[in-house]
Amino acid sequence: MTPDRFPLPRPRDGAVGRTVTAVLACATLLVVLALWVTAGGVTELGTDGTGLVTVARLTGLTASDLLLLQVLAMARVPWVERAWGQDRLARIHRLLGFTSCWLMTAHVVLVVAGYAASTDTGVLAQSADLVVRYPGMLLAAAGTALLVLVVALSVRAARRRARYENWHLLHLYAYLGVGLALPHQLWNGAHFVTSRAATAYWWTLWGCAAAALLAFRVGRPLWLSRRHRITVDEVRHEASDVYSVYLSGRRLDGLSARPGQFLTWRLRTGRGWSRAHPFSLSEAPRKDRLRFTFRAAGDDGARLAGAVPGTAVLIEGPFGTLTEGRRRGERVLLMAAGIGITPMRALLEGMRYVDGELTLIYRARSADELVLRDEIDGIAAERGAQVIYLPGPPPTGRSSWLTAELAERHADHEALTRLVPELAARDVFLCGPPPWMAAARAALRTAGVPARQVHDERFGW
């Protein structure tokens, strides 16, 4: 250790937050189970007709508990975001979404079957009676239809075919679905009608989800945008279709954005301003300046690239856990491919390291596409970082993180160990297209880098 060594920050990888939130989530499921048991759930299992209804009640209760947890998972609650990271939350949300949809379907089928059996009515007549006569059931039916629609549109095959913005707008109907579907349980569920505790628990959970949503998805972004008054200073063309947007605003340090994080940006350019884009900060955030860099893919890219100085910007965030907080040791390897360079460029500038401790590997399809190269060279020279540029097309036929040329001569993991000294001791930060990241992760694993030292965020919709 050299005498001027800085102390490494204690890893803040959110493990505590993850444990706490996971325990809380499981606790809600236990409460649901307890409510069901105390209302006679187990003892009624034996009776015909009523047995079906009892199981239906449990599936219904679990489904709505999961629905509310899903809303909370996506409510952008800051400490939940810090603990899990938005990418993992999105995957959890997806898993809970499909699970609750199946449970909801089971609930509907079992209730209709159980009621029909106990009253000697046909299934169709019973369904109609339920929807038309029972309190809150028309709402519940509409809510169920909306939720099923949203889930159907989220099946991968369907999702790929839709434009993201349209899909996202339709996805918002899930909130409506949840809101409409829940009241019926309070008005028809036997133990809600008779137990104050159950009713109070349910309204509390429902209220928390609604409040979190309003506070953190609507209130906080508006408040942040108002407090910091961010506007566009300049849009700079970097290369082919890559642009950097320079922003200024008030007291930007108050955002507590860290290198490696991203924000969701809405540029008030007129038509289309409501579309939000998540882009990484491409330099360490300053008191008076933020910058993001993006590839102008699709029709909306042109709108962003055409933003004039003075354009107001609404923000959400900062989000993301690909920051120095994940770091465990002194040596670091940053690996970027394509536009994935943006958070790595910010980390290169903002991380703590001394001469020779940090290496950046930068892949691009051609030398022209090595955007931000000049500034990267500048920072590297000043801070003593090592930068390895690997421009060139990817190999065809096999997935590799290398260029075709290198891939011909070297195995994926072997190239890594040759390029980067003391590889296994490093924290590795990854950002690039998902298939490239998968190849890089595989190479790192084979080269002996422990999985807990590999840090990335997997988005992609």
């Binding site: 009776t47 015909d48 007709g49 009523t50 209804v53 009621y115 106990s118 009253t119 000697d120 038309v132 006569r133 029972y134 309190p135 809150g136 059931m137 028309l138 709402l139 509409a142 707008l169 109907y173 409506l176 409409l180 009241p183 309070l186 008005w187 028809n188 036997a190 009608v193 008779t194 038509r271 289309g272 409501s274």
Partner: protein, 141 residues
């Protein structure tokens, strides 16, 4: 933008439609009863020499149940319902099926010691309790 406006308006219209339905604020549409089913207003069957005795009002979490018993010639000649449960829609449906069956069983057995009807346990118990109290009262002069 025009598309969004359209969707927004359609959604609001849909919601107004949904919420203007009477069940959407927690109310149930009453069952349309078959003609022969029990009427809510007690209309005691007049039996010559019969004696009417009201049972206790039995309170449960679903509401109150109370019966009125007609005794004639030392026998339970008829049972009518003065008050019955008012909450939980599906239980009410089941009660409509259960109450006539209970009455029949009681008239057959000439006692309150008959089986409860499955699916309407709470109502059956309350009904039979109220009935028992009426029988007790009839035997204490």
């Amino acid at each position: 933008m025009r598309k969004i406006t359209f969707f927004l308006l359609a959604t609001i219209a849909g919601l107004i439609g949904l919420f203007s339905y009477r069940t959407s604020f927690g109310e149930a549409v009453p069952q349309s009863r078959p003609a022969e089913a029990a009427t809510p207003a007690p209309s005691p069957t007049v039996i010559a020499g019969g004696r009417l005795v009201d049972g206790d009002a039995v309170f449960t979490e679903y509401g109150t149940v109370q019966v009125r018993v007609t005794f004639a010639g030392g026998r339970v000649a008829d049972v009518v319902i003065l008050q019955k449960h008012t909450v939980h829609e599906h239980s009410l449906v089941l009660n409509e099926l259960a109450l006539p069956r209970l009455r029949e069983q009681v008239l057959d057995a000439q006692s309150a010691e008959v089986d409860t009807v499955s699916g309407a346990t709470a109502t059956s118990r309350a009904y039979l309790d109220s009935l028992q109290s009426a029988i007790d009262r009839a035997h204490t002069p």
